[in-house]
C-alpha cells in the first residue's frame, strides 16, 4: 500500500512539477519542498490532489514541510489519515 501511494505521488509530482523529467529522478528522500521543486502554490495543489485521490482530509497545519517534503513523509501522512 505504502509503495503504491509513493508511486502515484511520484508520477503526479513528475507530471505537474517536473514536466519532461523522468519520475525516477525523484527518490523516496528527494526534498521536494526544501529544494524548491514544489512551491507554496504547488503544495496546495498537491494537497488538493491527495485529498481527492485518496479520499482524506488534510488540516491547514499539515500543509507543511514536515509532512510534504519527501515521498516518504507524504506516504506517512496519507496512510495515517486512512487509518
Amino acid at each position: 500500500m505504502r509503495d503504491e501511494v509513493k508511486a502515484e505521488v511520484r508520477a503526479y509530482v513528475a507530471e505537474q512539477f517536473l514536466p519532461g523529467e523522468s519520475p525516477d529522478l525523484i527518490t523516496d528522500t528527494t526534498l521536494l519542498v526544501s529544494d524548491g521543486i514544489i512551491d507554496s502554490l504547488g503544495s496546495l495543489r498537491l494537497v488538493s490532489w491527495l485529498e481527492e485521490r485518496f479520499g482524506i482530509t488534510i488540516q491547514a497545519s499539515e500543509v507543511a514541510v514536515d509532512h510534504l517534503d519527501t515521498l516518504d513523509l507524504i506516504a506517512d501522512l496519507v496512510l495515517s489519515k486512512r487509518g
Partner: protein, 932 residues
C-alpha cells in the same frame, strides 16, 4: 581487570574531552576579552577610522589574544587526537573560521552598523562559533542560548543595567507563560494581557524610564516569533528541547537588529545540523560576506546616488530616483543575509533570504525571493488556513488561491503597521502603504491566475541567446515596475507621489491640461503598462525553469573558501592602502566607512528635532534607526508647554517666565523670553554684554541650563573680568528650530534694546531659509524684506506646489537671502555700537566634505557683511562622537561635555580677539596673556 582498564581509559577519554572543551572555551574567552577591550575603554585606546585595526592594540592585549588562540588551537588539536574530529574536518573548520574572521575584520574596518556590532558582537559571534563547534552536539543548544544572553549583556549591561535585567527577565517570563501547562486559549489570553500592559508602557500611558529600549527589543524578539511558536508547538511541530526553544527567542544578533527576519520555529528545529556541519558553516560564512557586500553597496548608493524627491525635475532624474530608492533595500537584504549567515554558523541550516531579488521575473518570483521568511510566515498563518477554509466551503482551487492572496496581503499591510507600532510607539497607517500592498497583492493574484491557465513550464531547456535576452527583458520590466511601486510606498502621501510624477515631467497632465501634457502622460502610462504586462506574463516569453533534484546537491570542499577569501581580501585592500591613496580616494573610502547620514537625511533629522517626520522610508532608513530610540518624552516643538505660536514671520517663540520639560531637560525662560537667567533691561555699569543669536545648539537642546556653553562661558569671562571690578553678561537669545530670517527679526525685536557690546551669531544647519520662506509664502505671510519677495517671484513659486518642490525651486537663491540676513544683522549691530562676530559651530559628527563648500560660502558672506569671523571646525574632533552627542536619536546636538568643549574653545578665541583689539570684552590689557 580488563573491565576496570576499559573503564579507566573511558574515563580518561571523557576527562580529556572535557579538558579540550574547556581549553577551547578559555581560549576563545581570552581572545574575546583581548579583542573587545577597546570597546569598554571608550576614548582610551580606541582605534579611530583609518588608523589600522592593530595600532590601538596594546602589548597585553596582543599577548592575551595569542594565548587565547593558542589555547583554542590546543583544544581543537586534542579533540582531533581523541577522534572527535578528523583532520579534514578540523582543516575545513579552521579555513571557514579564517574566512569569518576576515569578514569580521571588514566589518570592523568599514564600521558596519553600530559600534557595538563591529567592535563587540562580531567578535562574540566568532568566539561563540569556535566554542559551539568544539562542544559535544547535545550541549550546543545551551551554548547558543548562552550566547544569546551574553549578546544582550555585552551590549547593554555596562550602560543600561536596569534595562538589561528587565529585558532578560521579561523575555524569560513571556517564554514561561508560553509554555505553561494550561489550555492554549488561557496561555493566549495571559499573553494578550501582557501585550496590552507593554503597549500601555510603550505609548507612555504608564510612564517608565526603560520603555524606549526594552519594549522595542522585546517586541522584536516576540511579536511574530511567539505567534509561530504557539502555532507550531500546538500542532506538534518544532524542536522539543528546552534550550533550543529558548535559543529561538534569544537569537544572538537580535539585540542590535530590531528589524529581524521572522525565523520559522519548525524550520529552526528541523534544519538544525540537517547536513554536514562544514557545509552549513561554509554557506553561513558565504552569506555573511554577501551581506557585508550588500551593506557596502548600500552605502555607496546612499551616499553617492540617492536624490531627494524634490530634486527630481526630468524623466531621467525620475528613473534615477526610483532605481536608487529601491537600491536602498540592499540594506535590508544585507542585514538579513548577515543575520541568517550567523544562525547558520551555529548549525541552523535556514533557507537563503533575498536570493537575487533584483533579478526577479514577475511578481510571484519577486515574492518568493525577497523576504522569504515573511512569505513563509504569512503562508503558514494566513495563506494556507485561508485557502483550506475556502476549499472546504466549496471554492475552487483558483478562487481559493486568489482570495487567500488577498487575505495575505491585507494582513501583511496590517502587520507592518503593527510592527511599526512596537518599534516606534505609534501606529503608522498611510494610504501609500495600503496602496503598495494592495497593488502588489492584486498583481500577484493576477499573475497567479494567468499562470494557472498555462501548462506547466518545461524544465532544463537549453539556454539560448534569444531566450536569455527575453528573460533579461522580463527581469528589467519587473525591476522597473517594482521600483515604481517602491517610490509610491516611500512617499509620505499619494499627493506627494503625484507631485513627483508631475515634477519629473512623466505625468504633466497632473499640472496642465494641454495637448503636449496629454501626449507625454499617455506615453508614460503606455511604457508603465507595457512593463506591467511583461511582468505579469501577458506578453509571451520565457519563465524560470523548474528546479530539478540534481541542482540541489552541492558537497563541501576546502577550495570553496578560496573565492570568498579572495573577495574579502579585495575589500580589505582599500582600507589597508588608504594612507597611500589620494585625498579624493581617501574621502570616498571614508564616505562608505561608518554609518553616516547623507546630506538629505541629515537635513531631515535636523528638521525632526522640532517637528514630527512623516516621510521616513519605513524600516529601511538610517534616519529611522536614529529616531527609534528617541526618548518617550520627545515632543514636537509646537507642543512644548513653554512655546507660543506667532502670526508674523517668526513662527513661534518662548513664553516669558515659562518653565517646562523638553527633550528630557528643564527649560527655564526669563521674563524677556530668553532661555537664560534674569537680566536688567538697562546695562549695569562696568559691564560688557554679549548677545548670543542662534538656534538649538546655542539654546542648548537636550542639555540642562547650567551646562550650556553660554552659561559656562559667561561664568569664565565674568570671573576673569571680576578681578578688574568689571563683569561680563551673555544674554542668550537663541531659539531652537529658528531659521536665519527669524533670528535676524528676533535680534532686531529683542537683543538691541539690551545694548550689547558684542553680537555673537552662531551659524548652524539652518542657514538655508528656503523651507521657512516656502512655509510663510504658503500661508500668505508678508515677506519682511524686498529680497525675499523678489526671490519668491524669480523662483516661480505657486501656492499649490508641495513644500518640497518650493524648497527645490528656492535652492538657487539661498545665498542671496543669507547675504541679506547677515548684512542686516551686522549693520544693525554696528549702528548700535556692537561688534558682530560670526561663529561656525560644526556638527558633533564633524563636517562632511559636501558641507565644506557651503560653510566656506557662509563664512565669506558673513565676512563681506562686516562680521568678525570665528571658526573652529575641530572642536569635537579629538573625542569619540558618542561622548559628545545628546543621544543616538540626536547625533547633531552636543551634550554637556560637548558644551564644555565649546565653552573652553570659545573663551580662548574671544580673549584672543579682545587682545588683538577686534572686539572689546572690557577685560584688562594683558588678559589674554594671563589666561594663557
Amino acid at each position: 581487570m580488563s573491565a576496570l582498564t576499559q573503564t579507566g581509559s573511558e574515563r580518561f577519554a571523557l576527562n580529556a574531552a572535557a579538558i579540550s572543551v574547556l581549553l577551547v572555551i578559555a581560549g576563545a574567552a581570552a581572545a574575546f576579552v583581548a579583542l573587545a577591550a577597546d570597546y569598554y575603554g571608550v576614548g582610551v585606546n580606541r582605534c579611530e577610522l583609518g588608523c589600522g585595526l592593530l595600532q590601538s592594540f596594546g602589548a597585553s592585549q596582543m599577548a592575551l589574544l595569542a594565548l587565547g588562540v593558542a589555547a583554542t588551537l590546543g583544544g581543537s588539536a586534542l579533540q582531533m587526537r581523541l577522534g572527535m574530529h578528523t583532520l579534514r574536518e578540523a582543516l575545513g573548520f579552521w579555513l571557514i573560521t579564517g574566512q569569518v574572521a576576515l569578514v569580521a575584520l571588514i566589518i570592523r574596518l568599514y564600521e558596519i552598523e553600530s559600534r557595538a556590532f563591529f567592535e563587540l558582537v562580531t567578535t562574540l559571534i566568532l568566539c561563540g562559533f569556535v566554542i559551539n563547534h568544539h562542544t559535544p552536539r547535545p550541549a550546543r543548544p545551551k551554548v547558543f542560548f548562552a550566547l544569546g544572553i551574553l549578546t544582550i549583556v555585552a551590549v547593554f549591561a555596562a550602560g543600561k543595567p536596569l534595562e538589561t535585567a528587565l529585558l532578560i527577565g521579561f523575555a524569560l517570563a513571556i517564554f514561561w507563560i508560553a509554555n505553561l501547562n494550561i489550555a492554549m486559549r488561557w496561555r493566549v489570553l495571559i499573553l494578550a494581557l501582557v501585550l496590552v500592559a507593554l503597549a500601555a508602557v510603550h505609548t507612555g500611558l504608564i510612564e517608565t524610564s526603560w520603555s524606549n529600549i526594552v519594549v522595542p527589543l522585546l517586541a522584536s524578539m516576540f511579536i511574530f516569533r511567539l505567534v509561530i511558536y504557539l502555532y507550531d508547538t500546538h500542532n506538534g511541530h518544532g524542536p522539543k528541547d528546552l534550550w533550543t526553544r529558548l535559543g529561538y527567542f534569544f537569537l544572538p544578533p537580535n539585540p542590535l537588529f530590531p528589524f529581524f527576519p521572522v525565523v520559522d520555529f519548525a524550520t529552526f528545529g528541523r534544519t538544525y545540523y540537517n547536513q554536514a556541519a562544514l557545509l552549513i558553516y561554509q554557506r553561513g560564512a558565504d552569506w555573511i560576506l554577501r551581506g557585508v557586500i550588500h551593506l557596502l553597496l548600500y552605502r555607496v548608493v546612499y551616499q553617492f546616488f540617492t536624490i531627494a524627491p524634490e530634486q527630481v525635475g526630468t524623466p531621467l532624474e525620475f528613473v534615477h530616483f526610483v532605481f536608487a530608492n529601491f537600491a536602498l533595500y540592499l540594506r535590508i537584504s544585507g542585514l538579513f543575509h548577515l543575520i541568517v549567515g550567523v544562525l547558520l554558523l551555529f548549525g541552523f541550516n535556514l533557507h537563503e533570504t533575498h536570493s537575487r531579488f533584483y533579478l526577479s521575473s514577475g511578481f510571484i518570483d519577486f515574492w518568493r525571493r525577497i523576504n522569504v521568511y515573511w512569505k513563509d510566515f504569512m503562508q503558514k498563518l494566513v495563506f494556507n488556513p485561508a485557502y483550506m477554509a475556502l476549499k472546504k466551503r466549496g471554492f475552487g482551487h483558483i478562487a481559493a488561491v486568489l482570495l487567500a492572496i488577498a487575505a495575505t496581503f491585507f494582513v501583511t499591510w496590517a502587520l507592518h503597521a503593527y510592527q511599526w507600532f512596537w518599534l516606534r510607539g505609534v501606529l503608522h497607517f498611510s494610504l501609500p502603504d495600503f496602496l503598495f500592498w494592495a497593488l502588489l497583492g492584486v498583481f500577484l493574484a493576477l499573475q497567479t491566475y494567468i499562470e494557472s491557465k498555462r501548462p506547466p513550464a518545461a524544465a532544463a531547456a537549453q539556454p539560448s541567446l534569444l531566450r536569455q535576452g527575453l528573460l533579461l527583458g522580463r527581469q528589467l520590466c519587473t525591476l522597473f515596475v517594482i521600483c515604481l511601486l517602491w517610490s509610491l510606498w516611500g512617499s509620505a502621501t499619494v499627493a506627494d507621489w503625484f507631485d513627483l510624477l508631475a515634477n519629473a515631467g512623466v505625468a504633466p497632465l497632473l499640472r496642465s491640461n494641454t495637448p503636449e501634457a496629454w501626449a507625454l502622460t499617455v506615453v508614460s502610462i503606455g511604457i508603465a503598462a507595457l512593463a506591467l504586462a511583461v511582468t505579469l506574463g501577458l506578453v509571451p516569453g520565457p519563465v524560470q525553469p523548474a528546479r530539478t533534484p540534481a541542482r540541489a546537491q552541492q558537497p563541501y570542499a576546502h577550495w570553496r573558501s578560496a573565492v570568498p577569501v579572495g573577495l574579502a581580501l579585495l575589500l580589505i585592500a582599500p582600507q589597508a592602502l588608504k594612507p597611500r591613496l589620494s585625498i579624493d580616494q581617501q574621502l570616498a573610502i571614508e564616505a562608505v566607512s561608518g554609518s553616516r547620514l547623507n546630506a538629505y537625511d541629515q537635513a531631515a533629522m535636523t528638521r525632526g528635532y522640532y517637528e514630527e517626520l512623516t516621510n521616513i522610508n519605513r524600516f529601511n532608513s538610517p534616519l529611522w534607526e536614529s529616531l527609534m530610540f528617541r526618548p518617550q518624552s520627545f515632543q514636537d516643538m509646537a507642543d512644548w508647554a513653554g512655546v507660543r505660536r506667532r502670526n508674523d514671520y517668526i513662527r513661534y517663540d518662548f513664553i516669558p517666565g515659562a518653565e517646562f520639560n523638553a527633550h528630557g531637560v528643564t527649560i527655564r525662560v526669563n521674563s524677556f523670553g530668553m532661555r537664560d537667567r534674569e537680566y536688567s533691561l538697562a546695562k549695569p555699569p562696568n559691564t560688557t554684554r554679549i548677545a548670543l543669536i542662534g538656534s538649538s545648539r546655542a539654546a542648548g537642546l537636550g542639555v540642562e541650563q547650567e551646562h550650556l556653553f553660554e552659561t559656562r562661558l559667561e561664568n569664565a569671562l565674568d570671573a576673569q573680568a571680576e578681578t578688574d571690578g568689571r563683569s561680563v553678561e551673555i544674554l542668550n537669545f537663541a531659539l531652537p528650530g529658528s531659521f536665519t530670517v527669524e533670528r535676524q527679526l528676533l535680534f532686531e525685536e529683542r537683543a538691541l534694546q539690551f545694548s550689547p557690546d558684542v553680537v555673537l551669531y552662531v551659524s548652524g544647519p539652518r542657514e538655508d531659509a528656503s523651507l521657512h520662506i516656502a512655509r510663510m509664502y504658503r500661508v500668505g505671510r508678508t515677506a519682511p524684506y524686498p529680497v525675499i519677495e523678489d526671490v519668491i517671484e524669480r523662483a516661480g513659486l505657486d501656492r499649490s506646489m508641495s513644500l518640497e518642490r518650493m524648497v527645490a525651486l528656492l535652492a538657487p537663491y539661498k545665498y542671496e537671502v543669507l547675504a541679506e540676513v547677515y548684512r542686516r544683522i551686522a549693520a544693525s549691530a554696528r549702528a548700535n555700537g556692537a561688534t558682530p562676530v560670526w561663529l561656525f559651530l560644526p556638527n558633533v559628527q564633524g563636517m562632511a566634505a559636501a558641507n565644506s563648500d557651503d560653510v566656506e560660502m557662509q563664512s565669506r558672506l558673513a565676512g563681506e557683511a562686516g562680521f568678525v569671523i570665528l571658526n573652529f571646525p575641530d572642536v569635537f574632533a579629538e573625542h569619540p562622537i558618542e561622548t559628545t552627542y545628546v543621544g543616538a536619536w540626536d547625533t547633531d546636538h552636543p551634550n554637556a561635555f560637548g558644551h564644555s568643549l565649546i565653552a573652553d574653545a570659545l573663551r580662548d578665541r574671544l580673549v584672543d580677539l579682545h587682545a588683538r583689539g577686534e572686539i572689546d570684552l572690557g577685560l584688562a590689557p594683558g588678559a589674554a596673556d594671563a589666561q594663557r
